[in-house]
């Protein structure tokens, strides 16, 4: 999803160096051929001739993965706190799914509806009236963030609204995968329940290199789990950009 008119680079203050080791997508370092993007020929797949069967030990486990991601991104801003099981219907209700994320104007419109599905128990609006972007750069959630429907409109809406990162206790897998594939937001995991420690409107800083979140409003610091395998994919701007970076698919002209 790399339309030239859209910004898919992570919303960071500092950019991260290219990853040196083989992260999230194991096979990328092996010579798998992928179909061409030539304008006239049909996309065909060429089977790899030298693929190496990955051993369990070669799978990079997240908890010990500090070396794989050299992400030095920092995020700073206000946080918006939500609870457990925030499903994608709440993130972007179904009535807005007629908006097609790959169309620039509709991408922006999706952003204006981010988290509009939250029940009225959330008294603070995520996006102020008459605004199109949110002032909350970081969303803090509980367990199973992004559960429910597979709609990619969900991480897209958050990203389009101006969210840089979500820090949740855990994620539903399709939402996590979509966040990584699109490069729209960093889906970070906390150690413990940050949604009970932070309040909407707190000023926080996330330091990826240190894997920590600092809440300036309370003066407390919290450990985050390293982004691990997914980091370099998000840094590159999503799966396509990453695939090009690693030579999996050819660059565009």
């Amino acid at each position: 999803m790399a339309a030239s008119s859209l910004s898919f680079s992570p919303k960071t203050i500092t950019s991260s160096p290219r990853p040196k080791t083989n992260p999230f997508i194991n096979h990328f370092s092996h010579s798998l051929q992928f179909p061409i993007a030539s304008s006239t020929s049909r996309a065909i797949f060429t089977s790899p001739t030298t693929s190496i069967v990955p051993r369990a030990s070669s799978v990079i486990s997240r908890a010990t993965n500090d070396a794989a991601s050299t992400n030095t991104n920092t995020f700073h801003g206000l946080c918006y706190v939500v609870g457990d099981n925030i499903d994608t219907d709440q993130i972007i209700p179904a009535e807005y799914l007629t908006l097609v994320p790959s169309k620039p104007e509709e991408y922006e419109k999706l952003g204006t509806y981010a988290l509009i599905g939250l029940p009225s128990t959330y008294t603070t609006r995520f996006i102020d009236e008459n605004e199109t972007k949110t002032k909350y750069k970081i969303v803090i959630g509980g367990d199973n963030f992004g559960c429910g429907s597979s709609r990619e409109h969900a991480p897209v809406a958050l990203g389009a609204a101006g969210v840089a990162a979500v820090v949740a206790e855990s994620y539903a897998r399709i939402f996590f995968r979509n966040s990584v594939a699109t490069g729209e937001i960093y889906p970070l995991e906390s150690e413990g329940r940050l949604c009970e420690e932070c309040r909407t409107g707190d000023v926080v800083t996330i330091e990826m290199a240190e894997s920590r979140l600092i809440n300036h409003s309370t003066g407390k610091e919290y450990k985050l789990k390293p982004i691990g395998d997914a980091g370099p994919v998000i840094d590159a701007g999503g799966i396509f950009a990453y695939a090009r970076q690693t030579g999996m698919i050819p660059s565009q002209n």
């Binding site: 999803m1 790399a2 339309a3 999230f24 194991n26 096979h27 992928f34 179909p35 993007a37 030539s38 304008s39 006239t40 020929s41 996309a43 065909i44 797949f45 089977s47 069967v53 990955p54 369990a56 030990s57 799978v59 486990s61 997240r62 908890a63 457990d84 099981n85 499903d87 219907d89 709440q90 209700p93 179904a94 009535e95 007629t98 097609v100 994320p101 790959s102 029940p119 009225s120 367990d143 199973n144 559960c147 429907s149 597979s150 709609r151 990619e152 855990s170 994620y171 539903a172 897998r173 399709i174 995968r177 979509n178 699109t182 691990g228 395998d229 999503g238 799966i239 396509f240 698919i249």
Partner: protein
């Protein structure tokens, strides 16, 4: 991160093995579902840490694999795969619909070029069915985008609809994608082909009922897939459920979700076996696998058997060879249940979002809950057998419904069945006749309907804060429209019984 060992667990059941069933009912107390003995904390959704896998002691070269592991291994041309590994998998079918298709095509073209061709025009099934019968301009435009792409790419399977005023005037139109995939013979057990089925919809896991690997993906992944025919998948460990006894499918899966929690299967495969499962029809197995996603599951599988083969006989002539978990395959956990001890359930409003066991209740314990309407439809509860189930209850009662009862058949075929198939024990009546006599609404045009709300003019859209018993799959706030609408998820039996009384009702009030 809570790490869990994939390989070391013996059969870990979370109830006392001496007890029949998963929990006891007290006639006087409120139902309380036993919490899983494992921590209720939802584990991280990233891959679990993998310790070095020990070689099999039997000396065999390959370590035993589960059904899911085998399918992914074959699809990635690997002799062996272990849970936690990432593998590039060849995909046999990619399904998309009107909500996600346009976005997927947009990405495909941007990334592979305006004139790029899809990897295989016969492996893509495009099914408009979400927002069809509406005057919403964008919704209609999106179906047009599907059409343009299919024409340009010469896509073999495009179940088009052009006349939304009369669904029957569209010979190609099918309806709800997950049901259509099955009915059109696109779901087949794995080995040679059609073993990996991906769709841009979370309920794609439904197809696992056929003993194949099926899961939902997003638009960007689909765009990548359109150009390459491959996707990167992380191999999930498998939870095995051994279910014995007789029980309706929807109640069964609600029970399982209540037991393991709405994230209990996150990043895991759910394999369903046992005499209960063997006795289920294909549609009932589809209901089971359909809601795997509501437990966070990556995919669900039911091993193929005679029931599967019989179903496929008139639907496909393509070869297939079923795959099964090895005898010695390792499962993350094994849950055993005597299903005959269980009773009809409802998932009370916000079940999925509040994740509280109190939100799963016995239907009979909710008999004081007054309801405003009943909705029977969706990929979960709008199949032929779901309507037959509802018809059985209406027939047994002989009375008329007390609340508006909306019927939305999933596909054209289901719709036709309502008007042609005789309901057992009715003396030759069809479902449609029984529904009419019971005072239900006329069966609507087949589509996803109001299961997920949709445009405001969608049939049965919840426009007010009403209470609805529904055979659908989610009841998050605002799911069917109004944010304060209360949705009770139930089996079609329970839905029909509730329609007859105007309160949440155990269907055994009518069926004994």
């Amino acid at each position: 991160m809570a790490s869990f060992s994939v390989f070391s667990t013996p059969t870990s059941s979370f109830f006392n093995k001496k007890d029949p069933g998963w929990f006891r009912f007290s006639s006087t107390s409120q139902l309380s579902v036993h919490k899983c003995k494992n921590s209720k904390k939802i584990v991280s959704v990233m891959a679990p840490q993998q310790s070095e896998r020990r070689p099999a002691t039997t000396g065999s070269v390959k370590t035993a694999m589960t059904l899911t592991e085998k399918i992914l291994a074959r699809a990635s041309e690997k002799p062996q795969l272990f849970p936690g590994e990432n593998a590039w998998v060849s995909v046999d079918i990619l399904m998309t619909h009107d909500i996600c298709g346009p976005g997927s095509f947009g990405i495909f073209k941007k990334e592979f070029g305006a004139n790029a061709k899809v990897w295989d025009r016969e492996k893509i099934v495009i099914i408009p069915e979400h927002y069809i019968f509406t005057s919403d301009e964008r919704a209609n435009r999106n179906v047009g985008i599907l059409r343009d792409f299919c024409t340009e790419q010469n896509i073999k399977y495009f179940y088009d609809i052009t006349d939304v005023g009369n669904f029957r005037a569209n010979p190609d139109y099918k309806g709800v994608c997950h049901v259509a995939l099955a009915q059109e013979g696109h779901c087949r057990p794995g080995e040679c082909s059609h073993q990996v089925l991906l769709g841009t919809d979370s309920h794609t896991c439904t197809a696992g009922a056929f003993g194949q690997f099926a899961t939902g993906i997003g638009i960007t992944d689909a765009g990548f897939l359109l150009g390459t025919g491959k996707t990167l998948l992380k191999v999930p460990p498998t939870l095995r459920f051994v279910l014995d006894g007789e029980m309706p499918d929807k109640d069964l899966i609600l029970q399982i979700i209540g037991e393991i929690s709405v994230a209990g299967a996150t990043y895991k495969s759910m394999e369903f076996t046992g005499t209960t499962v063997e006795s289920l029809s294909m549609e009932e197995r589809m209901t089971l696998c359909n809601m795997v996603i509501e437990a966070g599951g990556k995919n669900g599988v039911v091993p193929a058997d005679t029931t599967t083969f019989n179903y496929l006989e008139d639907k496909t002539s393509l070869p297939y060879e079923p795959v099964y978990s090895d005898e010695q395959a390792r499962f993350l956990s094994e849950y055993r249940c005597d299903v005959s001890k269980l009773e009809p359930l409802v998932a009370k409003m916000y079940f999925c979002s509040l994740n509280s066991p109190d939100n799963l209740a016995l239907a009979r314990e909710c008999k004081d809950v007054k309801i405003d309407r009943v909705y029977i439809g969706s990929c979960t509860g709008g199949k032929t057998e779901d309507f037959l189930a509802a018809a059985r209850v209406f027939l047994a009662s002989g009375k008329r419904v007390k609340v508006p009862t909306f019927l939305v058949p999933a596909t054209q075929k289901v719709w036709m069945g309502l008007y042609t198939l005789p309901v057992p024990g009715s003396g030759g009546k069809t479902c449609s006749q029984i529904f009419e006599e019971a005072g239900c609404d006329t069966p609507a045009s087949p589509s996803c309907g109001a299961c997920m709300g949709g445009p405001l003019d969608t049939y049965a859209h919840l426009n007010e804060p009403k209470v609805c018993v529904s055979t659908t799959n989610r009841n998050f706030p605002g799911r069917m429209g109004h944010k304060e609408g209360q949705i009770y998820l139930a089996s079609p039996y329970t839905a029909a019984a509730s329609a007859l009384t105007g309160y949440v009702t155990d269907p055994r009030e009518f069926l004994r």
